[in-house]
Symmetry: C2
Subunit: 483 residues, 2 copies
């Protein structure tokens, strides 16, 4: 469980640096053994479990992507997080063995043994719109049509669903190993994001699917769905994945169901959910606007809702180019290429481009005025550009090569300014705002190192490895020489 | 003795930071209680004993200023060191009680009991060139004319001397307290800087006065003169000042002597020796050229002999303005004003002016190409400019105010780049040369703090005190926050 749960960002308050350094798996340096490959795993993101993070409220049942509460408790879609969610699942798909997968019901080849109460019915028929057989169900006034499930610990459920009635629901009943408790997780026709109910000691979690009358395809990690409900109801997230199993499924209302599947994982579905979200939510400037205010330094250099992040753009590009590579669908490429537009527009004009001392361009994770020059976000944006250069058809690369080359030039020049002689600074706000240096905690420090090591596999300039090696040495207590 | 001897720069190799921080008096922060005064003490330089430093070979008997061996073992005059020598004595003159002082012989009012051997003679007569009475002496073939001295531990000797013969010498015989040994220190007509002789266990130290036929005024700290001879002969410098006394003085040759004086100190003579050296050795560009090669970073950014130092210029200006203030002599003012000329000339053209990213002017302690941006040297240069602004007649200030204001503007902007979050960097060579940061050892760190505290008394911008307070906190182990 320790390995599964990402404790990233939680230990900093209670533990000192040294302990943090050695105890926290996210402070690890991953020395690349092969050159970075734009269609391969994204860094060490196969170790990420974005959805487990405390600051992820839940995976939206309408969008299939995480909802963040980091800067606004009510929740919002954070493009960086959406992209990281997709990239982590893309990487897991490459790093993990193929999933176990069982189709339970597709209205045709696979049929399940539904328990249909009196007055209710199920039918399997050809749907002329979907061009495939589907299961039609109608629970009428009964308690619902149920299906007993014995899939062990395979907890990733996927299905296509639409309702013909105004209301309806699909509910999973999860059971802990000793069968002492059952936890229902429902997907309903509602616009609510997620709700947790507690009726006389019986807890239930509800996700809204939004408009139910058209086909929705959902892929759900039921463990995550349950844990997020438990966190919401104040019961904490201590629900071990390995101790859960699906007991049964219950359909209510009148609707159609297809491709009901339980699997040990379904990373590519989750990956494409992110890619599709990015395609749909890109605006006319090519950006993925972030709808929350971002406070940087106590009232100075704040960002008003609607800002873009070069990191968000870059991570989205990394994800979209992989989606294009895997699917061949041109709209992913188009979105990635459009995502470069804010790189050529100044932060002061709604873009993400800043200049260090009017000379070195920098792509800003937080396009503050004055600039903040966050290092890790900048490098993620460079990797995004590199992925475009690598995977776009040569005649469609656009500005990607130029933007990447200019960025690398800036990076190599400004890298020493992030070196404290015993660690790194997270950004250069001390310079632009005249503040104390914003020291990078060890997990960001190791991120800096991992990013440089990645770049060193695609750019042979010795400054990248030299700096990375020095920064690695800081992690074991070494210091730059004093005079 | 610990307090007297400046161990500055010697403990760094053998001791770690923490120990160094607490054990080394030069890592102290001196919080100013009054605004900085351009005619007052220079920082905490009253604590300096420049001449004791290992890298000072000796005090030249021709120039009355220290000879450095820091970057060239054969010795050279280093304007920074000359100015610091003068500024420390100026400051000591203000901080110490008035010296004990006894005139032994002036050929008129004060006459000493000379022991004149057969054939030798002394006469006291009016010198029409010097416009005062002097003692004429001629030892002829004798062992010399001697004077028994019982001045205890007053070891600062001064005299006016010239020889009518080609050769001649004035020798002091110093004795340790238990009278077990006698150490002669001679001043001779020779061009040698300093020599140590060992004739069958009898050690002697010889300083050359250069041309003896015209009047020389010498002010000598005999303890220093003896210690430097002992270091030269490999006997080490463990000769306690308090255990030494002058036993007798011996004159040889035919010459004239005046104003023979022993005193507990003579800081103002030493101060004016520095001021006069600076006036004489300033070149037509207003600079004090440094005649040794300076290696900065293993072959990159080296300085060839003849370079100027903004720190040297600034410290010289601080000293010369005090000499002008105290003496009223305009040639000191003129030299100080001329000393500003290299501040307006680029390092690439033989000046000391660099720009950070073509925008912020910086006065370079080491005018390397690319620039090195040494912090402490820059601030010393600003203090020099401030001293000119403060003490020059308003209509003669020239560029001093503009240079000072521009420099302060750069300082405030670039100060955060020297902050590592746990200490300071000495310079910005990591940025300009792409190297590891050059961490300032604790004594330089405290110099940075002391300089900022000084500036904070003449400029109320809160960044100066804020940064100084943060840097002070680093000395007791505090760190800037991490994210």
């Amino acid at each position: 469980m320790m390995k599964y749960y990402e404790v990233y960002g939680k230990l900093t308050k209670s533990k000192g640096h040294e302990q943090f350094e050695w105890s926290h798996s996210y402070s690890k340096v991953f020395k690349p053994t092969t050159p970075y490959n734009a269609s391969g795993m994204f860094m060490y993101f196969s170790n990420y479990n974005v959805e487990v993070r405390d600051r992820v409220k839940c995976i939206s049942a309408t969008e299939g992507v995480p909802v963040s509460t980091q800067w606004e408790a009510s929740g919002y879609y954070y493009p960086v997080q959406v992209a990281q969610y997709g990239l982590s699942h893309y990487s897991k798909n490459l790093s993990e063995p193929p999933p176990k997968r069982k189709v339970l019901e597709d209205g045709n080849t696979f049929t399940a043994k539904w328990q249909v109460p009196k007055g209710a019915y199920i039918r399997r028929n050809y749907d002329s719109a979907k061009l495939t057989h589907v299961l039609e169900f109608n629970s009428r006034d009964s308690a619902g049509i149920s299906l007993r499930l014995k899939q062990g610990t395979d907890l990733v459920l996927s299905f296509d669903l639409r309702f013909l009635s105004m209301n309806g629901s699909l509910t999973l009943f999860l059971e802990d190993r000793d069968r002492s408790q059952t936890f229902p997780v429902s997907f309903t026709c509602s616009s609510v994001l997620v709700e947790a109910h507690n009726a006389s000691g019986s807890y239930s979690t509800i996700y809204g699917m939004g408009n139910c009358q058209s086909w929705n395809r959902l892929t759900r990690d039921l463990h995550i769905d349950l844990v997020k409900g438990h966190v919401l109801s104040g019961r904490g997230k201590k629900l071990s994945r390995t101790k859960l199993r699906v007991h049964h499924l219950l359909l209510k209302g009148n609707g159609q169901l297809d491709n009901l599947t339980l699997a040990s994982s379904n990373h590519m579905d989750m990956f494409y959910s992110s890619a599709d979200w990015l395609v749909v939510h890109q605006d006319s400037s090519g950006g993925w606007p972030i709808g929350v205010k971002r406070k940087i330094a106590s009232g100075r250099a704040d960002l008003d809702p609607g800002w873009y992040s070069a990191m968000g753009q870059g991570q989205a590009m990394s994800l979209l180019m992989r989606a294009f590579y895997r699917s061949g669908k041109p709209h992913y490429l188009e979105a990635a290429l459009k995502g470069m537009q804010p790189f050529s527009k100044s932060s002061t004009e709604g873009g993400v481009r800043a200049y260090f001392m009017n000379q070195y361009p920098w792509y800003e994770e937080y396009p503050t005025v004055p600039p903040s020059f966050v290092l890790n976000g900048f490098i993620y944006s460079l990797i995004g550009l590199y992925d475009v250069v690598s995977l776009a058809p040569p005649n469609q690369v656009g500005d990607a090569q130029l933007l990447f080359d200019q960025g690398m030039h800036s990076l190599k020049k400004l890298l020493p300014l992030f070196d404290t002689g015993s660690g790194t600074v997270y950004d250069l706000r001390h310079f632009t705002l005249g503040l104390a240096p914003n020291i990078a905690r060890w997990d960001y420090h190791s991120t800096h190192i991992n990013q440089l090591l990645l770049l060193s596999t695609i750019d042979s300039d010795p400054i990248l490895t030299n700096v990375a090696e020095r920064w690695i040495s800081y992690m074991s207590g070494k210091r730059a020489a004093h005079n």
